[in-house]
Subunit: 290 residues, 3 copies
């Protein structure tokens, strides 16, 4: 691969974009045991993909801003639909079906197809239901530290008893059937690897979450019949749910997907969208590519 010349870098796949000059590797660079690393991938040419990124609870479409910017800079097309009860929507009285409809309508209105559908956290339940409605448009499903519910389950069913009880108290104490995360809980469970400043900046964007969809039992028989390829991205510092002893993202919920591609990273539930968007973008790409 060194020295660089256009001829020797021809890829057999026409939909590949090339990396900019100066960002190629010599074979020496990544075979001497010191510089070889997972990061080398981020410098290689990437297959061009279309991503539809579906955020989770206590977030809106801006959750993806930095990650989407990195993905676009690498040649991908990125959509970040916002759904009912979130962002600037003043109506908090929403159902899971309304949320799903927001995303399905977004996809059909723009006539999107052959895309990688990514769900984060609660967004996992959303892409499960979206996949049931527009399966033929989806190239691959990617769950990033996301709920994969069993048929008939609710998100609340996957919370440890103590957490579920806490959420029920916060819900009961609200005027509009929402749940607001107290800062100490957000700081320790959602942005545990962040600095205090980063935590505060991210908390400034958190607004009360409609409670009902978190407690709705979802019918998911059709989801479990879909042959759509699936991936799971797991960040090992994510502690919003305990990881093991009957709870957690991976392997507890991920294995419900049957055959799936696992990609693991070192982040937490929210922080890396702000502080390491390129790392996160790379993990989503590794999960989504052919």
């Amino acid at each position: 691969m060194f020295p660089f010349s256009q001829e020797t870098h021809q890829f057999p796949y026409p939909d590949y974009s090339f990396m900019p000059h100066g960002y190629y590797y010599s074979p020496y660079f990544w075979s001497n045991g010191v510089f070889e690393s997972e990061e080398r991938y981020s410098l290689l040419a990437q297959q061009r993909l279309t991503f539809v990124l579906v955020h989770g609870s206590w977030a809106d479409a801006h959750f993806w801003d930095n990650v989407a910017a990195v993905l676009r800079s690498r040649g991908h097309v990125v959509y970040t639909p916002e759904y009912a009860g979130h962002g600037k929507d003043p109506n908090k009285d929403v159902t899971h079906a309304m949320i799903t409809k927001s995303v399905v309508d977004f996809i059909t209105r723009l006539n999107l197809s052959n895309f990688v559908l990514v769900g984060h956290s609660f967004g996992g339940t959303v892409i499960q239901k979206v996949a049931e409605q527009v399966p033929d448009r989806i190239k691959r499903l990617v769950f990033w530290d996301a709920f994969v519910l069993k048929d008939g389950e609710s998100v609340a069913d996957e919370l440890p008893p103590q957490t579920r009880q806490g959420f029920e108290q916060l819900r009961a104490g609200s005027k509009d059937d929402t749940i607001m995360l107290p800062f100490p809980l957000f700081r320790d469970l959602f942005v545990n690897t962040a600095t205090l400043e980063e935590a505060k900046q991210m908390y400034a964007g958190v607004i009360p979450e409609p409670a009902r969809p978190l407690f709705e039992n979802l019918e998911l028989k059709a989801f479990y019949d879909l042959p759509t390829p699936k991936s799971y991205v797991y960040f090992y510092q994510d502690n919003t749910l305990p990881q093991g002893e009957g709870f957690g993202w991976n392997p507890h919920m991920s294995t419900r997907l049957g055959q799936f591609r696992l990609i693991v990273g070192g982040g937490d539930h929210f922080t890396d969208t702000r502080t390491r968007p390129a790392m996160l973008a790379q993990k989503l790409y590794e999960a989504g590519r052919d």
Copy 2:
């Protein structure tokens, strides 16, 4: 953040120290997907904290020497109390209560308050009991691959049957009710990532451990009523206990803390105190900061 000027680097928190000139980042540096990394944090200004570091079994206060040096170099205040039956104490006939008293006396004699109390390994049981006695002095509890015992449990109760049996045999074979780790066990379970030289150097500091406190059942009802914030630092190459199937540091014992901040690193049980003290110091800082 580039170019550097004092004005644009003002932090809103007066107790923050500034990083030295030349160690700041340009936004480009950590947003291009190559250089962005967890290590960037170690170069950012740190909130000044006071740490009280409590060692575990087969160790004394020198266990923390390198880590304490790094923490101090970053502006923190660090104390490393040694407790009964350890270090130069010739008396091995100690109880868990005597060990706890050593640390409580250290804290009250120096009139320490608002500190981060860190326990490693067996030291986890010590900070559980210390926290019961001086809760108002403690800012946050940090368990690093440390026992979090249930009310009424002993350390021995958390050992796999084979390990417990081995410890009981070593105890029975001693003249003074102590347990000495054979080198092969120490090398494979405590310093598995070390070179042989590093392993031997560290083993040279290991002396027989008083056995009784490891088999004492501790009353911990008061601990589980404490509202003190808690963190757990887990190193994923630590194999002193099997991690799963009903045993281990995280999530098996960590989740007993209820809501806690998880920080994960790549080390083992002992080695990084010698070979990567800055990494370990950074993880303890991330666990301890506000």
Copy 3:
């Protein structure tokens, strides 16, 4: 350690090779929290070892080519025996005993002793049986994401029901009692971190695997009486088996070894043999050294 002089670098172990000039560290380099890293080990002098590397299913001795090259470049002696039913052997009608015999014969013919015996995947069951037959020749057993079967078990017994059923269908559909991996399964479970090109290159070397040995129940009482030191290398992106809830490499099967040295890396089941051979070689070295 700086500046360099031959005298100050004398190691007490005569069988240690020295690193080349220019590859030593200053203490500053690895104590400032930025450059200190696990990779530093790969630059330190290594104890010279003899490795016998035993591949797994859907692979042959070439599986180890790049890793063996790295290990040899660091001064180690490496053997990569191929066994019955694999590589150029046209006979697919083999038993587990025939496979074991291939490796035992290789070892005795070359009169190898004091070597580190490494098994990958299905190769774990092979080194379990080989160790029973030539225990005195083996310095240490290293399992890398490898089966550690209980006495009386088969590999199939350790597969999740869905995977086992899939393998039984593929077996039933073959003409010669073999199992061929479909590309989508290979791509998502065996080389999940690879690029599509790397996945295709590696798949080009995959041929149908004799099915019978995967379903044979192995008598392993003698194995569990061996005092041979043991290590387990676990790569946390390896998802050929789900990791938890009663399945998986570590801790599910690794803990059957009793006392063992754990080494963890970030790779998957196959990819790193091609893309990060130096990282993999280093992990095998860390698992195998004294």
